[in-house]
């Protein structure tokens, strides 16, 4: 009896040991996303860190950014679909309706995944389909990504102040165009240039409009559809006037690449540049802007304020990409995936997937939440000098916009100054929120391509004077609503009202 008991005891012990050992066995997760980043010895350290601390063995499969949707579609037809997929919101949504993603609602909670809960906040609502939570949004948490840059040295030369109101902006553009700010004796400069009409949104904001098919919530609770609003019409009139006067670069409408606008900036072709927040700093790092324009002083400025006190640059959606977990993955894998994402959502974990492991690639003071980061100093070597620091972000899927810029102000160079200024401007400048941007209703999917096209081509036709606002506006509005615009916005309003428990209507 005693023998039997001890035998049982030994067996039980053995079982516990094996069970324990089994728990130690790392869970392999296959991750598929659409950017191509090199993996090397330095990124392998991150891989090891995740393996040792989370018990997750991450296998990365990288797609090609311009063919990713096709690649993903093929991978999803496979028997061995990837466990974790990081893709655009609309693509995720499309697969969500096809039942491709695992329901993670049973795996997330304040107790189990506090960092993830804090990170996503209220945006779970957009991840919920039929009471199932099917993904984790990669939060952008910046109100805008477009920033206006000005040549301060030109302003000083012409005796002008940094413009604040729309009228002041117009005057500055006029002076930049006609008063030869670069002093070369030729009238070869423009007030404003940018890579595409969408970068004119900062001017439209002064009228309470934008360059996109946005829907704005008014103070009285009604909703204004930008594409057909009187505010948008007034903004078009203004843009038409300054275009006809020759204050904006006509090539603004035909540039196909950002590099073209950046090259113009490098040649000193314009005094105001509406751009992606990082492009003014990129001009220093990409082609040594400082030697091409040695006198240049660049500042990031707020968009103009209109007569009614309105102002705003183009609005950024709260998130544009989502991490989904395959419905074919086992519960163990789903659990491991959530653990991995929770790690990325934490302040510390984010730094690991962003910079590399602590002590080698960054030092962190949790008290003050400051990071010392070894990129751009130390001859691009890690702290010990053993590793070259290049692109360390191969494991990162969740963005943390707020944290990153604190680390950039390491050295005081023109590059880092305008880099930080541009980045911070995103958080300071006003935007007009597009309240429907996350509601991809069936009607939206059905009509948006034709509506986008119709809206964009007409915007340019009105600005460039091919269409007349007085005579063609009403027909434009009618056609817009007829070709699906009405159905689309009604469906989005219904979904918006349902989600917010409101009873909003469209403004007349």
């Amino acid at each position: 009896m005693k023998k039997l008991f001890s035998l049982i005891m030994v067996l039980a012990l053995l079982c516990t040991v094996t069970a324990f050992a089994a728990a130690e066995e790392p869970v392999v997760l296959n991750v598929f996303y659409g950017t191509s980043r090199p993996m090397n010895d330095a990124t392998e350290l991150t891989h090891q860190y995740i393996l040792e601390n989370l018990g997750v063995d991450v296998h990365l499969e990288q797609g090609d950014s311009s063919n990713f949707n096709q690649q993903l579609a093929l991978r999803m037809t496979d028997a061995d679909t990837p466990d974790i997929v990081w893709c655009d919101y609309n693509v995720w949504k499309d697969y969500a309706t096809q039942g491709a993603w695992a329901d993670i609602s049973g795996y997330i909670s304040e107790e189990k995944t506090p960092d993830l809960m804090k990170y996503v906040g209220t945006d779970w609502v957009f991840m919920t389909v039929d009471d199932e939570i099917l993904g984790v949004p990669s939060e952008l948490s910046v109100p805008s990504s477009h920033v206006v840059f000005v040549r301060k040295d030109w302003l000083d030369k012409l005796g002008l102040d940094v413009p604040v109101t729309l009228d002041e902006f117009t005057n500055v553009m006029r002076a930049f165009t006609t008063q030869d700010p670069d002093g070369n004796g030729i009238n070869d400069t423009y007030g404003l240039s940018a890579a595409g009409a969408t970068y004119l949104s900062f001017l439209m904001g002064a009228f309470g409009a934008s360059t996109e098919r946005d829907n704005f919530l008014n103070d009285d609770g009604t909703v204004t559809t930008n594409a057909i609003s009187p505010e948008y019409r007034a903004a078009l009139q203004y843009l038409h006037d300054i275009y006809a006067e020759g204050l904006i670069d006509p090539e603004l409408f035909t540039m196909s690449e950002q590099s073209q606008a950046q090259a113009k900036w490098g040649r000193g072709a314009m005094g105001l540049w509406s751009a992606w927040f990082s492009h003014a700093s990129n001009a220093y790092s990409r082609y040594d802007f400082a030697s091409l324009q040695p006198d240049a002083v660049v500042e990031a400025i707020l968009p103009p304020v209109g007569e009614n006190g309105m102002s705003g640059n183009l609005y950024s959606a709260p998130f544009t990409s989502v991490v989904g977990i395959s419905a074919k993955s086992s519960p163990e894998k789903v659990e491991a995936a959530i653990k991995y994402l929770n790690f990325q959502a934490s302040n510390y974990g984010f730094r690991v997937v962003m910079y590399g492991v602590e002590d080698e690639f960054f030092d962190w003071d949790p008290e003050t939440d400051t990071t010392t980061w070894y990129w751009g100093v130390n001859d691009n070597k890690s702290k010990s000098g053993k590793y070259e620091v290049t692109d360390m972000e191969v494991y990162k899927m969740l963005f943390h916009e707020n944290i990153q810029e604190q680390t950039n102000a390491l050295t005081d160079t023109p590059y880092s100054r305008i880099r930080v200024a541009g980045s911070n401007m995103r958080f300071t400048e006003p935007t007009r929120e597009d309240i429907f941007c996350m509601y991809l209703t069936d009607e939206y999917v059905e009509y948006h391509a034709d509506l986008d096209n119709y809206f964009n081509t007409n915007m340019l036709a009105f600005i460039m004077g091919e269409k007349n606002l007085d005579s063609d506006w009403d027909a434009y509005v009618q056609e817009y609503l007829n070709m699906g615009g009405e159905e689309e916005r009604e469906s989005q309003l219904a979904e918006y009202n349902a989600a917010h428990g409101t009873n909003a209507t469209f403004a007349q």
Binding site: N69, Q70, L72, A73, M76, T77, N90, V91, D94, Y95, Q98, G99, A100, D188, A197, D249, P250, E251, F253, T254, M255, S256, E257, S259, Q260, K264, R267, A269, V445, H448, A449, D450, N453, N456, T457, M459, L460, M464
Partner: protein, 312 residues
């Protein structure tokens, strides 16, 4: 000839089979390849009549009948894109087709062999420059502020316009840039064909007192006639395919109404809703059917005009 007599004689069928049996054996691997890589996947065309779901798979996706086609035909933008494609392709055919032939003929007439080789080698270089880089060059060339073209116009007293933003210029820009990019490469096949023209015919023509042009017209051109016919038929069949990359890099909102092709339309519509495989397949099927009709048509015409030259 013996051939025509044999053809009319059914009794000789068995004789021909007996004679040609090794040919079928040689053909076997080729046919197997076609079955595996072309005909087996062709079943996938059914998704043109389905609402294809990647997760369900081709077989299990629900049938929707002609809904995808209806959607295409209902869209004004699609019909416009068909029109644009036909116009651009037509211009490509009208100018882009004969120019490589003329180029090959002129190249063939060059006296200095070394010079000839250099020209030929250089002429196909643009073929290897991707459209994204070529597009950047075209932009630089035509930019009113800094472009070479603008400088020329200014020197002649004009004021350069933003050519890439004017719809009237879009199609000429597309056609000319395509000729620039592909002329040399397309000429290679004609150069190869010219080498197989019988030298004795030139001698005979020379003896008859034929000049250079007369020899070019009466010997060289007929000598490469069958290759020209084949090329023409194949190009006509591809009339609904305009290089997507080229349009993608040159188009903008100002030129969209005259520049949007079928493939670009499908790309634009599919962009918002992950992958619109069904709609893409439906439009592809339409293109294929029209292309088939055109190939059969031109092949018939070609056989009549050229005494039997055609693909079949």
């Amino acid at each position: 000839m013996t051939g025509s007599r044999l053809k009319s004689d059914k009794r000789h069928m068995s004789l021909r089979l007996k004679r040609y049996w090794p040919a079928y054996l040689i053909l076997l691997p080729v046919v197997v390849w076609y079955i595996i890589f072309c005909y087996m996947p062709m079943g996938g065309l059914v998704i043109a009549f389905k609402k294809y779901s990647v997760i369900c798979g081709i077989a299990a996706s629900p049938w929707v009948g002609l809904q995808n086609f209806e959607k295409l035909f209902k869209s004004g933008a699609f019909m416009n894109s068909v029109r644009n494609t036909l116009i651009i392709s037509g211009l490509n055919l009208l100018f882009g087709f004969p120019i490589p032939i003329i180029f090959a003929l002129l190249l063939n007439e060059m006296g200095c062999v070394r010079y000839k080789k250099v020209v030929q080698t250089v002429s196909y270089l643009p073929h290897f420059i991707s459209w994204s880089v070529a597009g950047g060059m075209i932009y630089m060339l035509l930019s009113p502020g800094t472009g070479v073209f603008g400088a020329v116009v200014r020197a002649m007293g004009g004021s350069p316009k933003n050519y890439l933003g004017i719809s009237a210029y879009f199609r000429p820009i597309v056609v000319i840039s395509a000729i620039w990019k592909h002329m040399g490469w397309s000429a290679i096949i004609y150069m190869a064909a010219i080498t197989s023209v019988d030298e004795e015919l030139y001698e005979a023509a020379r003896v008859d007192g034929a000049g250079r042009f007369s020899r070019m017209w009466h010997v060289t051109l007929p000598g490469i006639r069958s290759i020209i016919a084949i090329q023409l038929i194949l190009q006509v069949g591809q009339i609904l395919n305009v290089s997507f990359d080229q349009i993608f890099i040159l188009i903008n909102d100002l030129t969209q109404s005259v520049g949007e092709t079928i493939d670009y339309y499908i790309y634009r519509v599919g962009l918002g809703s992950s992958n619109n495989f069904s709609l893409g397949t439906a439009s592809g099927l339409l293109k294929s059917v029209i292309g088939l009709g055109l190939v059969v048509g031109t092949n018939t015409i070609s056989r009549r005009l050229t005494d039997g030259e055609g693909i079949w």
